[in-house]
């Protein structure tokens, strides 16, 4: 029960390109041509485009947009490489041996394993997808998905640096994130149904050389996650450049509203988990507990992650998983904050 079988081999070489002649010549423009035309058009219309883009709002929007993408891409590539290594070079039997057989125990083990992935949430989605494909119990893979971006040493160090006067914040973040990750894993194991989670689809690389399989996996993951990363970056840029920060002040006065407001803000801003501690530290008008909620919710669920989870595990999964994670993360951080902070 703990380990599901791997998808059977699909024979034959990877025929990913797949565009039939009718497809490329008839109804559709073929895509390289479209891309070239788009580039030429952009260069030709550079003058008017630049004038439109000179307004401060658009400039600020674009700066944030490009910044989020440029910041996240290296970590995405890192995660994609790791995921390709898992997919190609680590045999499925490794995970069967490394994780406890009983899913109830595999969940906390996988949650703790999140400590070793030094990256942000962009890296953990493809890695979790690769784990599921490699036959790891989904509940354990999900615990890893949620805990890895929040409790790795880089993020905890950043949190310690951002809250020099409140070292208990680091402990609170670690405890609350691990609790939510394990609770979500167990919850999925009890209530989750297989059909909600689309098995992460990808062409099979069996029968190909390891090199071809490796690069095929890299290309596939970059194309999938990259597009959704751009969607998340657009949402974050819109919020950052258009919504006035002074609205937050009104929310900070009521402790409950403050927690909810910062949790929602964490979802909307979609900041990388390596950076969110500094943003939380700057929200000085909010209570420590509400800032803890910001730090726990952000790495687990935000706009960018939701889009990436939809791409990796399917919409039916993301629509159930994301709200449950959100509610549980708020609840746990409120409790942990009351006890520890």
């Amino acid at each position: 029960m703990a380990i599901t079988k791997e998808a059977p081999d699909r024979p034959g070489p990877d025929t990913d390109a797949g565009a039939s002649p009718q497809d490329s010549r008839g109804r559709h423009l073929n895509s390289p041509l479209l891309l070239t035309m788009l580039l030429v058009l952009a260069v030709a219309a550079q003058g008017p485009l630049r004038r439109v883009l000179a307004a401060p709002v658009t400039q600020s929007w674009m700066t944030v947009f490009v910044a989020v993408v440029v910041q996240a891409l290296p970590f995405l590539v890192l995660g994609v490489l790791l995921s390709a290594v898992i997919a190609v070079y680590v045999p499925p039997s490794f995970f069967a041996r490394a994780l406890p057989k009983r899913p109830a125990l595999a969940v906390p083990a996988a949650g703790m394993a999140g400590v070793v992935l030094p990256g942000c949430e962009c890296a953990s989605v493809p890695v979790a997808g690769a784990l599921v494909r490699r036959g790891v119990t989904p509940a354990a893979a999900l615990a890893f998905l949620l805990s890895a971006p929040a409790i790795n040493p880089i993020v905890l160090t950043a949190t310690a640096v951002a809250f020099p006067g409140n070292p208990e914040m680091v402990l609170a973040r670690f405890v609350a994130s691990l609790l939510v990750a394990c609770a979500m894993g167990w919850l999925w194991q009890r209530l989750g149904r297989g059909e909600w989670m689309r098995p992460p689809e990808r062409p099979s690389y069996e029968g190909l050389g390891k090199g071809a399989a490796f690069w095929g996996s890299v290309r596939h993951d970059v194309m999938h996650a990259g597009g959704f990363l751009v969607v998340g970056a657009m949402a974050a840029a819109t919020l950052k450049a258009v919504v006035p920060a002074s609205w937050l002040n009104a929310a900070a006065d009521n402790p409950l509203v403050a927690i909810l407001a910062l949790a929602v803000l964490a979802v909307l801003l979609s900041i990388c988990s390596e950076a969110d501690a500094f943003v939380a530290a700057s929200l000085t008008q909010f209570s420590l507990t509400s800032r803890l909620a910001f730090l726990v919710v952000g790495p687990m669920i935000d706009l960018k992650l939701f889009a990436m989870q939809t791409a990796t595990f399917g919409r039916a999964f993301a629509l159930r998983f994301a709200p449950a994670t959100f509610a549980l993360a708020i609840l746990v951080s409120a409790l942990v904050g009351t006890v520890l902070l």
Binding site: A7, P8, P11, D14, T15, D16, A17, G18, A19, S20, P21, Q22, D23, S24, S31, P32, L35, L38, Q46, L49, P56, V57, Q59, S60, M62, T63, V64, V66, A67, V68, V70, L73, P74, F75, L76, L78, A162, G194, P203, A212, W215, G216, R219, V222, M223, H224, G226, G227, V230, A236, A237, A245, S246, N249, C272, A275, F278, S282, L283, T284
Partner: protein, 284 residues
């Protein structure tokens, strides 16, 4: 999105990252420390594009050597159509509901795995265009005035300043000493501070320096209010060096209530924008 388009997007994205990482362009968006990762990511993406082309060419060649020449040999750009031509548009659809769920639903259709990447992958072209064609500026006065001052007290206190001559201080150093050290070391000294200009809603001028925690999305300003002898035309986002003296005048940042100190200006002169538009000396 077929594999050739993917190759092109990978190649361009990798190239754009390399371009940004090998010039000063990346400093507008991320911290200087990210440079090796940016270049590494660019190299990996380009390698993925090259590897895709190489393996595809090798697969085509071995197929031809097997004596089973690929159909459509003249279609050099789409060497992989071994299946019937009308199935390609359907490959991405969800299976009919009567299909058994689970991974083996693909098994009866050996060519179903020829799925294409989602159209959303095309969006990767957008940041690429923005980066190469527009190259948006570093976060400036617009962001600074919408974001609360990030001034925080240094837990280890403020070191001694040189005893004589004009003091050259950073925006954060001046503001920190003025607010948390009560301006003790500053009073009566000639002070030079460089930063860019920002105007609030009433046209009051501030001297600002931004700092990044991670990337320009979380850029935070430290602001100094300017009083005294100001030039008649104040152009937001222009970099200036202000010479003046400490004044105990304070105000509160309307966004987050942080204290904002003032500097009494004697003279200003335009300066060149620094190579790194963000002050990386504070908050890591």
């Amino acid at each position: 999105m077929n594999r050739h388009a993917q190759t092109v997007v990978l190649l361009l994205t990798g190239g754009a990252l390399l371009h940004a990482g090998s010039t000063d362009l990346y400093l507008r968006y991320v911290k200087a420390g990210l440079q090796p990762l940016l270049i590494g990511a660019g190299v990996v993406l380009i390698a993925a594009a090259v590897a895709t082309l190489w393996y595809e060419r090798r697969a085509t060649r071995s197929r031809q050597e097997d004596g089973a020449p690929a159909p459509e040999r003249n279609e050099a750009h789409a060497p992989d159509h071994t299946a019937e031509p009308d199935r390609a548009p359907e490959t991405d659809r969800t299976p009919a509901p009567d299909h058994a769920p689970g991974p083996d639903r693909h098994a009866p259709h050996p060519d179903r795995h020829a799925h294409r990447e989602p159209r959303v992958a095309w969006l990767l072209v957008l940041p690429l265009l923005a980066l190469v064609l527009v190259a948006p500026p570093a976060a400036g006065s617009y962001t600074a005035m919408r974001t609360g001052s990030a001034l925080q007290e240094q837990p280890w206190g403020y070191p001694k300043l040189p005893a004589d001559g004009p003091l050259k201080l950073s925006v954060a150093d001046y503001a920190g000493r003025a607010v948390y050290d009560k301006g003790r070391a500053l009073a009566g000294r000639q002070i030079k501070v460089a930063g860019f200009l920002a105007l609030d809603g009433h046209g009051a001028p501030y001297l600002v320096r931004m700092a990044l925690n991670c990337c320009a999305a979380d850029a935070q300003p430290v602001k100094i209010g300017l009083t005294g002898e100001l030039p008649p035309v104040l152009q937001p986002d222009s970099w200036i060096e202000v010479t003046g003296t400490y004044t105990p005048k304070r105000t509160k940042d309307p966004v987050n209530g942080t204290a904002v100190p003032y500097l009494s200006v004697a003279s200003t002169r335009p300066v060149k924008a620094p190579q790194d538009p963000y002050d990386e000396a504070w908050n890591g």
